[in-house]
Symmetry: C2
Subunit: 263 residues, 2 copies
Amino acid sequence: MDGSVKGWLVVAGLGPGAEDWVTPEVTAALAAATDVVGYLPYVARVAPRTGLTLHASDNRVELDRAAHALRMVGEGRRVVVVSSGDPGVFAMASAVFEAVETGPAAWRALDVRVLPGITAMLAAAARAGAPLGHDFCAINLSDNLKPWALVERRLRLAVQADFAMAFYNPRSVSRPQGFTRALAVLREECGAAGSPTRPVIFARAVSTPDETIRVVALSDAQPEMADMRTIVIVGSSLTRVIARDGGVPWIYTPRSAPPEVSA
Amino acid sequence: MDGSVKGWLVVAGLGPGAEDWVTPEVTAALAAATDVVGYLPYVARVAPRTGLTLHASDNRVELDRAAHALRMVGEGRRVVVVSSGDPGVFAMASAVFEAVETGPAAWRALDVRVLPGITAMLAAAARAGAPLGHDFCAINLSDNLKPWALVERRLRLAVQADFAMAFYNPRSVSRPQGFTRALAVLREECGAAGSPTRPVIFARAVSTPDETIRVVALSDAQPEMADMRTIVIVGSSLTRVIARDGGVPWIYTPRSAPPEVSA
């Protein structure tokens, strides 16, 4: 390939699944790419065409995948690294920049851009109402890449800060006990009075044919209500439940907090 | 209007500004609407057409605006309430559900849907690299709708939890002192050792012609670096800065945390 050809790397978010949640910016980047790199189920969402090479890889090889993409950019190729949701939230953008930082100095001069997408918690929140309408936090519950003690500490402080919370990767097949412990920590911090009134939303496979939305009180939440395709949202102390005849209730967190909450 | 006509309400996120960040789902909803309701600068982003009535209103009348939209749906109209960014993050979705909860019981039977959008913090994060790549929180720094003591408490607990942080509405003309105090609280919690190394990103008017991205250390951050068009992102203790010759550095928060962080 001609050395004057300028390659680029785009880290793109495909959203949670629905085609009409993919931004036009991402669609245009995919149309201009020579190579698409990513985890197999996300690469499978990109339509094959002449001139486009699809490089699908397995889970947990994020740094290798990022380095592969960066090497191709150095060769003048136009590479899109695809993530589900938003690439900056528990996804490939961090891995790409980690590979840049630890890789050859020349990689810092490459044309690298991140294209935002609809992240899973906002899709889940939209289906339920507006549970993240006031201050909130997002926690990856997997202890694959961090110690469980840090997860637990963040859960306790998040309750004390009265954040609404969104949990990614709540429960894996290999470590199912993590979410059980998370629910126990939340109940302990919220107290016997708070747990029956605090809503928990289990939003599974949002915008796919398998979508389910379930709302229960924290005191009734069970670990098996979540799997790795589920986003779990826990309300703050102010989150409201609007009952509806024969339907899933609407959940929202008000925009305002009364003075006494800060005491 | 025929009583059998079924109206609907869609609360739609237009993203931070760029046309190619508006999802196809939102574009389709606007094409099917009879009425668009919202804050004036957001309604101005919707192209006028025959059969579409634009209802622009001023800031701080969110509940009136929501009630107006719900009344029109009851009359069989197809109404889109527009927000900037994502409608569920410090925007109109919470106001709509608050109006539903406090309004006539019949409103609970209406067809109300929330369509997610690219929220400002994810757009800002994408421009800077991947600063929200690990656990993080989002805080609305305006004390218009909550007491300042609650803002300050959340800031302290967020540092203790070692979250990366995104701040919406950091600094208004009428209450400029809030952000000054927020920076002081963060420096106090991060300590003299932490403040010079912790990056702060000021992302202003992302995806508009006025866009600017500035990265400074927390110890060098000044209140006047932010205004109401700015999203401020503060790294966690693990957030990395990748220096680049002649350019804004890339900022990312690694996907993993070492065991000692939890101590």
